[in-house]
């Protein structure tokens, strides 16, 4: 009995991890699908989010006040980076975008090392969410993990509504198909790109921020999550939010269960899944043409 409950707990953890991956991958997929920019520094924003959470939780103490401050900061960084750097590369090839964002990764990592050092830091769970739900005498499930899943679902729902149901969403979708046409209709496509980029990286930072209390903050956390994010996008198909959701959940569950069942090979399990999917569907499961 407790065996199957334990399995349920791991499954819930997998789903929670998958939803977090979705939050990250959707930002990456959004930026690529609309502007055609491959941003390797996406994982760095995850790290930035986590470290800002650590910093603000320590110095302000109130995480509910820290969240809006932090999101505003990342949004600003996103706007600055887009206008100063990425907007110059929309017409260049992927190689240069890759290298520009690689340069940014080095800069972010080193700034992290200068300001916060190279130690692992824990981030406290906010007091309101500190309790656990008891399942059996020994097993319980932390409320905070449920909060993460809930928050990710809310953001996913909001994103769907904005992109599919609003006027801005219509402009974004149109801009990804035909930039010149949208521009000649009098819509400021540059402004739209700027905000899509900023919102995309803010989603990554948000993911880092809410994950910080369970993952703690450590050097290289951005690179690690970036690769998994790529796997999610490759499996799901670029530009497909539905595909990103399904593949993020699959990979979250495979990775979490893999770590329990085959700890030595869990690192490779996710990539093996990717290889198998690539054999049958080279364009990912749900590619938008």
């Amino acid at each position: 009995m407790s065996g199957s409950l334990e399995f349920l707990v791991q499954l819930l953890n997998g789903i929670q991890y998958g939803l977090l991956l979705f939050l990250l991958a959707s930002g990456l997929s959004l930026i690529f699908g609309i502007m055609g920019v491959l941003n390797l520094a996406h994982g760095s924003f995850y790290m930035v989010g986590a470290y800002l959470a650590f910093w603000l939780a320590r110095d302000i103490g109130n995480i509910w006040l820290a969240i809006p401050i932090e999101l505003a900061m990342v949004l600003l960084i996103g706007v600055i980076l887009e206008s100063a750097l990425f907007s110059r590369l929309y017409h260049r090839d992927h190689l240069q975008q890759v290298l520009l964002s690689f340069g940014l990764i080095l800069i972010f990592e080193e700034l992290r090392s200068i300001f916060f050092g190279d130690d692992v830091h824990g981030v406290p769970v906010p007091p309101l969410l500190r309790s656990s739900i008891p399942l059996t005498g020994t097993l319980s499930y932390p409320v905070y993990r449920l909060f993460i899943s809930g928050a990710c679902l809310v953001v996913a729902g909001l994103m769907y509504l904005v992109i599919q149901k609003t006027r801005v969403g219509m402009m974004i979708r149109a801009g990804s198909t035909n930039r010149e046409m949208v521009q000649s209709l009098g819509i400021n496509i540059k402004l739209i790109y700027r905000w899509v980029f900023a919102v995309g990286v803010t989603l990554a930072a948000l993911a880092g921020m809410i994950a910080a209390p369970i993952s703690s903050v450590y050097p290289g956390m951005g690179s690690q999550i970036l690769i998994i994010c790529f796997v999610v996008v490759v499996v799901g198909g670029i530009g497909s939010i539905k595909g990103a959701m399904i593949s993020a959940l699959t990979i979250g569950i495979v990775d979490t269960l893999g770590q329990v069942l085959l700890p030595e090979f869990s690192g490779a399990a996710v990539y093996l899944l990717m290889a198998v999917i690539l054999l049958w569907w080279p364009q990912g499961l749900f590619r938008v043409a």
Partner: protein
Amino acid sequence: MRIGRLMLMLGAVCVGLMPLTGATFYVQLVSKIMILAIFAMSLDLLVGSAGLVSLGHGAFFGVAGYAIALLSPKYQAASLWWTLPVVLIISAALALIVGLLVLRTSGVYFIMVTLAFGQMLYSLFHDTKLGGGSDGLYLYVRPTSSIAGYQPFDLEKPLHFFYFVFVIMLGVYVLLNRVRVSPFGHALAGLKVNEQRMRSLGFPPIPYKLGAFVLAGTLTGLAGYLAACQFGFVNPEMLSWHYSAMVLMMLILGGVARFHGAIVGAFAYVLLQEMLASQAVFGAIAKHWQLGMGVLIVLSVLLLPNGLTSLLDRLSRVRLRQNS
């Protein structure tokens, strides 16, 4: 072009004569740069000739390094003459398997998939006991070149190792330039520009791209073999995608789609890195050299997209116009 070629030959002679200064530190530094130049040139075959940006080539570099470390008996020299071919065959076989999978994708997918495969091999070596886990392995003794008691050169000596790498680097340069002007190279260039048209002309893309992928993987393995010999140890970091990205950076710094660009880029990148990390120049900030490197990378992508060798081209064009 004449002035450009003259300057390149002058550069090659300078590098070849460099050990005469007798500074062992610099002999070893330049050996390291030349190994990275071999890596960069083989990546340029994919990036420059075939238009395939791979972020997973560090895997071939690292696997070859692990292969020589695992093949060598502990504290004893293995023979160069059988370990080198075996390592090259391992690299080629791995590139064939990985290539068959990753070449099903193209464009930005290719970048992400190569990165993920590289990372898969990284985690395999990092998490399992196969290659000593995250600590890696030591290669205590470099392979020996002796045949039947006669030893033509001794790789343990920095000077011999330097010229060994120098000759291999020139050999790879000549080989890759031959490949570029061969019918195979022309087909690759055609596929880079317009795959649809090449297909209708009767050139199936996959065999050509796979050929380039395997050749690039094999030569990267050659660089990995030499790197393991020089450093005396291998660790999972050799396989990481940061390594691949660094070598791509060398390419763009020197100039893509010309193999001398890869060599110039390797020299420029490592020398810049040495300067930024030098405490004599930057004092206490030298510890954070990656910050400066990151800024330089961003600037060079924005301001010098065609690389340093494009400056050379521009210079020679100006001279030609003056002559005529």
